[in-house]
Symmetry: C2
C-alpha cells in the first residue's frame, strides 16, 4: 500500500491587532496571543529601563495599597506616581531616570501606574497566552521577539484613563512596521497606527509635543523624561510576565 506523504502545509501568517484603549480589550480574543502592554509615557519605558539596568524583577501591581504590601513582602523598591508626585507610602516615582544600574541592579521593583499596570492585569484576567511590555527604549528587542515567536499578537495601548492616546498608538504603529511582512493585518486600528507612525517616524520628537499627554507631563517639568521615552533601543530588554513578575527575557 502506498501512502502519500502529507502535503507540505503552507503556514499561514499570524494576525496582529491593535487595541487602542484598555476599554476595548474585551472585544478581542487574546487566549492564543502574546499581548504587548504599551504605556510609552512612562510605565513600560521605565520597566524596560529597570530590567536593562539589571533589576532582578518587576512586580506590577494595580493599586498603591498592594504596592506597599508587596514592597514589604519582597523587600523591593516601591514606586508609583499620581499627578506627577510620588504616591504617599511609596518610595520612588515612575521616571526611567530614577532607575540607573547603580541603583536598581539586583533589586526588585514593585510598581503601580495610572494606566499600564492596570491594563497588564486586565490582560492577565482575560487569559492572555503570554504578556510582555513594549516601549521605544526596547523597541527592536520586542519586535524581534514577536517575529521569533510567530504567534498572534495583540498590541495593547494603555491610553489615558481608558481614552485613546497618540504616543502608545505610535509605538504600536512602529511595531507593525517591523512585523508587517510576517503577520496579517485585518483591522483598521492597526492600519491607522501604522500610518500615523510612518507619517511621523522622522519627526517623532516634534510631533509628540502636540499630544495631550506631553502637555500634561510637561507641566511637571518632565520633558527630558518624555524625550528619553521615545528614544529607540536605548534600553534593550524583553520584559516577560512570569509567575507574578516581569523578568528580562533577553
Amino acid at each position: 500500500m502506498y501512502i502519500c506523504a502529507p502535503m507540505a502545509q503552507k503556514k499561514s501568517k499570524p494576525s496582529i491587532h491593535t487595541v487602542l484603549t484598555p476599554q476595548l480589550l474585551d472585544l478581542y480574543e487574546i487566549k492564543d496571543s502574546i499581548v504587548v502592554i504599551i504605556d510609552v509615557f512612562r510605565a513600560t519605558s521605565t520597566m524596560a529601563t529597570a530590567l536593562y539596568n539589571g533589576a532582578r524583577k518587576i512586580i506590577p501591581v494595580d493599586s498603591p495599597e498592594l504596592c506597599i504590601e508587596m514592597g514589604k513582602q519582597t523587600g523591593g523598591v516601591t514606586a508609583g506616581e499620581r499627578d506627577g508626585k510620588i504616591i504617599p507610602g511609596l518610595s520612588y516615582g515612575n521616571s526611567p531616570s530614577e532607575y540607573p544600574r547603580s541603583f536598581i541592579e539586583n533589586k526588585i521593583l514593585v510598581i503601580t501606574t495610572t494606566n499600564g499596570t492596570k491594563l497588564l492585569h486586565m490582560a492577565l484576567k482575560q487569559g492572555a497566552k503570554d504578556i510582555i511590555t513594549g516601549s521605544f527604549p526596547n523597541f527592536s528587542a520586542v519586535a524581534n521577539y514577536l517575529k521569533e515567536q510567530g504567534v498572534p499578537v495583540i498590541l495593547a495601548c494603555s491610553g489615558w484613563k481608558n481614552r485613546f492616546n497618540i504616543e502608545d498608538t505610535l509605538f504600536a504603529g512602529a511595531i507593525i512596521e517591523a512585523l508587517k511582512d510576517d503577520f496579517t493585518i485585518h483591522c483598521d486600528s492597526s492600519l491607522m497606527a501604522n500610518q500615523l507612525y510612518c507619517q511621523h517616524k522622522d519627526d517623532l520628537a516634534q510631533y509628540i509635543q502636540t499630544t495631550t499627554h506631553w502637555h500634561r507631563l510637561a507641566a511637571y517639568g518632565l520633558e527630558q523624561d518624555m524625550l528619553y521615552c521615545i528614544s529607540i533601543d536605548s534600553a534593550p530588554s524583553i520584559p516577560i510576565y512570569k509567575e507574578g513578575a516581569l523578568v528580562n527575557g533577553l
Copy 2:
C-alpha cells in the same frame, strides 16, 4: 454714582471631542453637548439622503423586531440589513440608492442598522443635550449647524461592532477641520482624526478602499454605494432627533 459697565466677557470656545467607538461613549460627559452620530458606511449617509429626498421623518430603532412593530404602527417603510441582505420581515435595505425622492418623499422610514442606530440610542440613554447625524453627503450642513449652535460637540463614531473604523474617523476629522478655529480641541482622538483626514482629503476615494469595511461591503458588490457615501454635500440636510424621530432641520 458712576456704575461701571460690566467688562465685555471674552466668550470661551466650546470643546470638541471625538469618541472613536460606541464602547468609549460612557467616558464622556455628553449632557451639555450636541452628539453627532457618524456611520459613514452607510446608516447616516442613508439617513441624510432620505431626508434630503423629502422623507417626512426617520425612526431609528435598535432591533429588527422593533422595526417591524414601528413599521406597523406608523405605516412607514421598514429597512435593515445584516450581512448585506435585507433582514427577514423588513422591506428595504440600508443603501442610500434605495431612497430617491420618487420613492421616499413624504414617507416615514423606520430603520435599524448594525452600528449607527444602536449608538444613537446609547447617546439618548446617556442624556445627550441634542443628537444629530452626520455623513459626507450632508457634511457642510452639519458643520454649519454646529458652528451656529456654539455648544460643546461630541463626534461619535459608530465603528464596527464596537471596534474602531477609519471611515467614521475620517468624517470626524473633516468636521474638526471645518470647526477648529471656533472650538477647542484637547483630546488625542480629535488630533489624530483631523490629521488622518488632512492627509487623505485629496485621495479619499482611493484611501477608503484600504479599509476593512470597504472590503467587507465590496464582497456584496456595494462599491458604488460606498463611493456615494464619501461624496461631499450630495444630500444637504440636518437630521435632528426630536420626539423619537430624525427630522430635517435644514
